[in-house]
Point group: D3
Chain length 247, copies 6
């Protein structure tokens, strides 16, 4: 009863390197019949490290969702830990849309009573805090940590950021009383499996988690409800650079 499907993995920033990292992480866990199409906006912000960056990135996400929908993809993933534009994308899409913060947090609650988050810059912690509150997982998050390096340090080839993530995960395991760790950046997608092995606790990457969630929803015949507040956007003429969204 399996079926072949296409999942569009949208890196909301414009970094090609990170798009590749994310795409590979997604492909590694995809089911045999699943094809991963990793994309990023042609225009936008090279990395997402705050609310301003997120607002810009949300447009790129929507642009890609529109293209993915036109191409008939079976699901969309927003591969930035702030889940920028998630509800807007759910309105626009016909297929399911999953954010990687959401995906990782959900998975974490299935394998541990409490989890820790390890992310990049301290200023992004507030975004994770707001998501925990909105998704309902505040009680399950024991602590949030930032390695204090920018997102793109994960792509500079030096391995320094990766090393800092590893150290922070070890520290979190020892100090937080958490049973699992959520990696708080799409750019960390390739670290989860190895850290899970090394630390002996679930270290969860949202990109791969989201792939399985999309596959799950499709297999269940479920998609975003179009009854109520996630219905397609009310049709009206958008102007200027946003006219790309007009049908």
């Amino acid at each position: 009863m399996s079926r072949s499907l296409v999942i569009q993995v949208i890196n909301p920033n414009t970094s090609e390197a990170m798009t590749q990292t994310i795409g590979q992480a997604a492909a590694q866990v995809a089911a045999p019949g699943t094809k991963i199409v990793a994309v990023c906006p042609s225009q936008g912000v090279p990395s997402i490290e705050g609310h301003f960056d997120e607002a810009i990135a949300a447009i790129g996400v929507l642009e890609q969702v529109k293209q993915g929908r036109a191409a008939g993809v079976d699901g969309h993933i927003i591969a930035c830990f702030g889940d920028p534009g998630l509800l807007a994308a759910r309105e626009l899409a016909r297929a399911p849309v999953i954010g990687i913060a959401e995906a990782a947090m959900h998975m974490a609650t299935l394998v541990a009573t409490r989890f820790s988050i390890v992310t990049t810059l301290p200023r992004t912690l507030i975004i994770a805090r707001h998501l925990l509150q909105q998704y309902g997982f505040e009680h399950q998050c024991a602590a949030l940590h930032a390695i204090n390096l920018p997102v793109l340090a994960l792509e500079d080839g030096s391995g320094l950021a990766q090393q800092k993530v590893r150290e922070m995960c070890i520290q979190a395991k020892q100090q937080d009383g958490s049973g699992a760790i959520v990696l708080g950046c799409g750019g960390m997608a390739d670290l989860a499996r190895e850290l899970t092995q090394e630390l002996g606790i679930p270290v969860i990457d949202g990109v791969s988690a989201a792939v399985k969630m999309v596959e799950s929803l499709v297999a269940l015949g479920l998609s975003t409800s179009k009854h109520g507040d996630l219905d397609f956007p009310v049709t009206k003429p958008l102007s200027g650079m946003f006219s790309i969204f007009n049908e």
Copy 2:
């Protein structure tokens, strides 16, 4: 990279008919390589309609988890909407354990901003309320409804309970401002797909949702954290009828 796996679906009550309904619902969504083994305790309670029934059923769940673990299954599902014995089972199991209430609620939050629950007897509503609070989904649940028929009415062949579920779902869609409906009983597992079609909104069955969640966790290389409070039970000699749990 797919793999063949075995999922043990545990109906915590002793109804064979319901075990079959549940097993079929599970099999219908299982991936090609997934084998569903539907079981129920050899002893216990014929249906679960309150906290007392849940306490009894939890032992049956643990018994089955122990057997499933010995048989090397890749995941366990607790197929009763109260998720009886969930955290205890997570301690006992090596493989992931998912409850169907949990599974359905998680899925619902991915396709709607708010959902309604439709269950059997009014006295079980408090169990759902407590789970919503514990899992963090209180804000996402708009309303809870009971059809006021016992669980086994779903297996009496008359179709009356099924009809009541259908009517309640229609009413919930019209009145609650919800975008999705969660079916609050393992015995309703076969109704979801049809009601989703008829009502035009996601109507979610936890059994099938849980199958996909177990498959997802396995594919991600994730299982219950054995670091901390979900570690295997502290070894000590159990006495009397519980000596079956001694190694």
Copy 3:
């Protein structure tokens, strides 16, 4: 110790008529030394009735904030009840930024123990719900109501929408046990004072409330903290249509 100041009131949609309504409401309560500059994005969405519209509008808000900042305005108001782009705008701006939902809700808690919200389309209720949760005012909101007319019905000259708002306010006063009503749309800005008179309870418009809040912050020598997560966006080259945000 009073000072002359300029407040930029940003209507996040592109409706000129609504921009005018909003600007007038703002001017009516502005202090003698305060100059109101009502603007709207040159491109975007004609009305905001969902998350997609909000994501588009947020860019328009940021564009205007950037221009306002360059022009040296003393404060910015985001005049749409969903407060689109609020935290992003706070990062970008040097002067204080206030959203009208936030402003109205804060004011309501100062004059009543519980308030009701009256807005336009039912699908926007979820946005208000999320804001109540994020701002911390869930307990103070007794009920939310929608008149079930689109935003621009407020500008069609027929008075029908205004009449529906009035009727809904009367009903809310009678049924909700609330002491005050918050008007949930920038386009209702001109109704508050009259309804306050007629109903004999505070009926609060966020536009005028926000004007007083900006004036207050300026007089107090307070502006958005640039220590921590609302600091100016990390500088990096934006590409394509977003290059307008490069310095």
Copy 4:
């Protein structure tokens, strides 16, 4: 107007020594007319240190409640800090049922604005956390501590565990900003009065607290509501080892 009554104190584990400790603590505070009957299940788990142990213990609790009910006792106490089987026992019993975690937490909120909890193994902290959330006392609990010794260390005669409890209570008093301490294990029941004296703050044992609560409910003519979700279990034939619960 006093009356003579019998309170069944159920130690949910099978440790005779602990049953005695608990029974003595109960007897010490019982009113003149109150007879304490301390019991433990004939079969089960020797100590309770996790969710698995709790699930086993819940059956023992129910078995004893059934016997106590047959014997016509006036109230039941579940003397393990996780309150295993509490709601199930309330269904089964005719007389009031009180858990010692519940009892201690309630009492603590009557004598201090915030309290600390001192328990045995770290893995049991999650059980206390969940109870705080379910009972509504999260805001009143300032901190949770574990002495990191197993439950039965309290019965090994060395006094080491008792010494660790004492040290942890002193530390909690100094560091947590709490006005009272809740002892998080039935096996600590004999320490409360002495520590209250030594530390000069209320150190609360749930066993004795529960005795007074049962006496209070009886004196007030109150018992578990049989209207609604705590009504007697729906009658149906239990099978196998659970047939002991059939009438």
Copy 5:
């Protein structure tokens, strides 16, 4: 080990009739060795129906607590459903202090999963709401009702208010899905036992509940913690009419 003790029951309003009703209700459940001393302030407000009345009444409560403390009473009860001056009284007193709202709510959570409140004037509902939030019982309260008669109607001899309370309780039982009812006024203290009989569910009066709580705390050797924020008030000279509080 029983002991003779004196409990001061403070009616915070100046109504002699209500003081008597309250005193009798207290005496009816007091243990053999317990002496009830029912008092009310010599000056203050004849009934308490809002925050202003409560502020006035709090002084009367404190005045009586000071006198009771001087007389060496073993506990104090604040017999108004808003628990006016509770934390202030805990600072001032050496013996335990219990409010009747607190007492009734605590007891209700021990016999039902959810309860309803029936009180006098609608304007006092907000006080009950705030207490539910502060005490942590929001989730356990299913609904609040007001009979829309002033407090003193309970003392006018017509029985009308009592009839309305009865009708409201019946309605609450049928509609709220609650297992118990809390009577929300000290003046209803004499109705609880009869309504419990008639309705077949626990109908709880806070006055008698508080008596048992004070007796319990005394028997347990517990009193308000004087370590931290409930310590005796910082000594300083009060002026004017408040000099009565100077030592």
Copy 6:
């Protein structure tokens, strides 16, 4: 459209020095047409450092509100960080009433995602905690600190308390991850502007914040709702020293 108005700033304690500090802080930010009248009760407590002090102070606040109302003031400010008597004062007053804790907390949420509180004695922290919960700002408060000096140390002329406040603010900025600091005592009103400059983050004084809030409400034509639970107190004869409140 500006108007001349009179704001009564009530220092709830009887310290003349503090009344002056508070009055000056208020005057410094008042709009040109606003006249500040700083008052304190003629009788009461010299400083407010706990719940008992607050209960006494509340009467002084009400006395002053009554006088202010008779004098036709346009607004009342309760200048003690616990906001003693706030809801009672709102009942009694015709004009708006603002507490300084409330004012400072509201303002803080407009300029930072999270704030810290710096207050005087540790025992007052619980009052701030309760207000955060009641007002809905728990999630926005990152930490609370006490300098461990009594309130009147702020008026002893030594500058020691001021120095401690400064040091605590610096520490809070470095450690709490907060973007703003709320000063938790009316007696610190003169420190905010200077500390804002020195620390480079918003340091917020509630007295000045409250002045702007009252001015704002007046300009908006809003006052406390007299529909519902903040209506004028039910008229009844107060006795004894409270007869001053009889009309």
